[in-house]
């Protein structure tokens, strides 16, 4: 139970699907991905996780260093973030040293990249749950998921175990409240991902389009309302903005 | 969850109440929040709405609210309660806190 679930598809196969032969330029070290590859006619910076690994302080630093390098040496190069991580390991040393701050630093680096004209596109390739998704993947301009990815806060069984609400009750409610359901499709209904890519799709072409169309405006609340999965968020935000302008 | 509503006769609220509404307490284990609002009609009735996580105590709720309506001029107010198992003593305290807040502007 201590080891994160291993995905059956190998990381190299996933990378090849996304980047073709240019995936050779991506290094995998302790399940952290860093490197550069080609998408269509353009070069991209690639960073992320694989094998459902846990992101610890060192992993966050390596990802941050790669983003900084990209900003310095490859101005305006789009950054593709791949997510396959079970989250952060509950660990006393990591917490003592301020894991949250390491994640905050990674987010700051990505923000700097965005401000300096790098487009940020996330593809959830495996596990994209909780803190692991929050600490970089969900910070992109646009977020996509493979349909085989496990996206969301947590599966209903885990939610039931923590909240003590019977799984059957949550299961039934999730039919009308997609927020409670686990997976890429319900997450898309909430606006959390722009689109889900299926095994049949030409993923490389999708990625080219995703990078071309990415803008830095956060459109998730609009999407969530339009798709009906998150009916309240946008209107409440608008209400706050309207009432505060009075 | 149990939900009920009832209005109780009460002398009209003094006209120079400090605020349009007041909130006392928080929703948490063994606690409750009381929202007290002016502008309800008629002005000689105190309108009450209760939602509680502990069913089966309607009678004691109504007794506590009736008692409050009797002792305080709260006509023309609306009380709305979200309860998570507060004791009668705490219910009474929160009602008085909300009332003081509304009438005197106290925190």
């Amino acid at each position: 139970m201590k080891n994160p679930t291993q995905k059956k598809t190998s990381t190299r196969a996933v990378l090849a699907r996304l980047f073709g032969s240019s995936a050779r330029g991506i290094a995998i070290e302790k399940s952290v991905l860093t490197g550069y590859a080609s998408v269509g006619d353009g070069k991209v910076c690639v960073m992320g996780t694989c094998n459902g690994t846990y992101i610890d302080n060192a992993a966050a630093l390596r990802l941050a260093a790669h983003v900084i390098e990209c900003i310095e040496k490859h101005p305006k190069t789009p950054i593709v973030m791949l997510v396959d991580s079970a989250g952060q390991e509950p660990n006393r040393v990591a917490e003592m040293l301020g894991l949250a701050s390491y994640f905050g630093h990674l987010l700051s680096c990505l923000e700097l990249a965005r401000r300096k004209g790098h487009k940020l596109v996330t593809v959830a390739t495996g596990q994209a749950v909780g803190g692991a998704f929050l600490c970089y993947g969900m910070f992109a301009d646009r977020i996509y998921a493979l349909d085989s990815a496990s996206v969301g806060l947590m599966p209903i069984a885990a939610m039931s175990a923590v909240t003590k609400i019977p799984a059957a009750v949550l299961q039934k409610l999730s039919k009308t409240m997609p927020s409670l359901e686990f997976g890429a499709a319900p997450f898309a209904l909430l606006g959390g991902v722009e689109a889900v890519w299926s095994a049949k799709d030409d993923i490389q072409a999708r990625l080219v389009g995703a990078i071309a169309n990415a803008t830095s405006e956060d459109n998730r609340a609009e999407l969530g309302k339009k798709r009906g999965g998150r009916k309240l968020a946008l209107d409440i935000r608008k209400k706050v903005l309207a009432e505060s302008a009075r | 969850m149990e939900k009920f509503a009832k209005a109780f006769p009460s002398k009209p609220l003094p006209s120079k109440a400090a605020k349009p509404w007041a909130l006392a307490g928080v929703v948490g284990s063994g606690n409750l929040e009381v929202l007290l609002e002016r502008g309800s009609r008629p002005t000689n009735m105190m309108e009450c709405h209760v939602e509680t996580s502990i069913p089966g105590y309607k009678a004691s709720w109504l007794a506590a609210l009736s008692d409050f309506a009797h002792h305080y001029p709260a006509g023309g107010t609306k009380i709305t309660i979200n309860d998570q198992g507060a004791s009668p003593v705490l219910v009474n305290l929160r009602l008085r806190q909300a009332y003081d807040h509304l009438t005197k502007g106290e925190k």
């Binding site: 301020g98 994640f103 909780g130 409240m177 969530g224 968020a233 | 928080v26 606690n31 929040e33």
Partner: protein, 291 residues
Amino acid sequence: MSGVLFHEQTARQRIAALADPGSFVELLPPPERITSPYLAQLGIPVSFDDGIVIGHAKIGGKKVYLAAQVGQFVGGAVGEIHGAKLTGLFKAAARDKTPCILLVESGGVRLHEGSAGEIAIAETMRAIFECRALKVPTIAVIATDIGAYGGIGILSTCCDYRVMTEHGRLGISGPIVIEKWMGKKAYNSADRALVWKTSGGKTKYLLGDADALVHDAPEAVRDAIAKFIGKSRAVSLGSVKARQKELEKRLKKFGTTNDPNAVWKGMGVRNVEAASLASGPEFAALAKRGK
């Protein structure tokens, strides 16, 4: 000092104590009754503010946006409404170029509402950085034992500044989660000294993750806020490179120990026992904070 303890106050009392008298205007106040449909469906009591009080006020005559999470309500956790109020507030702060202060008291995402709260935290992070890009100061105040955990722990580190008291705790995984994972022998969540030295304000201040360590009193929190609302902290290439070095150094220096006292000593605390007893600013004075 009034003798009032900040960590014992309710969210509304905290706001009242920090704001200039009578200056607080609540947005989406309780009479609007915007309550969680998720909790209602699950038969869990709702609250009229959904566990977060938001609005604007003046502090020392200067306009600020202000939010206070209600830790007693579902652990201050972030659901769809709670999160949307928070996102909206930071967006309003960016629009009006007005500093935004979050009085944090949250374990993170509200599990009862699933992924909606998680997305809301991500959206709020974006809004915080929107403020920062416009040089609008953002401040997280972490001053209670509910503290800032999970996604809200990460979110707090996105703000320009963190003001903490020794009661405050900042992290991602809480003590019970760590104990469950590592075993009671490796980490006993009932060991208060250990828990506070892992995630508490003093350790966070020593390491430089908290920018101020103040007395557990509204006046002290207010003074710290007043100091920080005047100046933002830019995210620049220089700042992230410096931070990268600092965090690498920290990991190298302390990554192999699990003894918080070693961290304290390494960060310049000569007398750990005396420092443990010292409160707020006295502790800060005792500890020559290393950078």
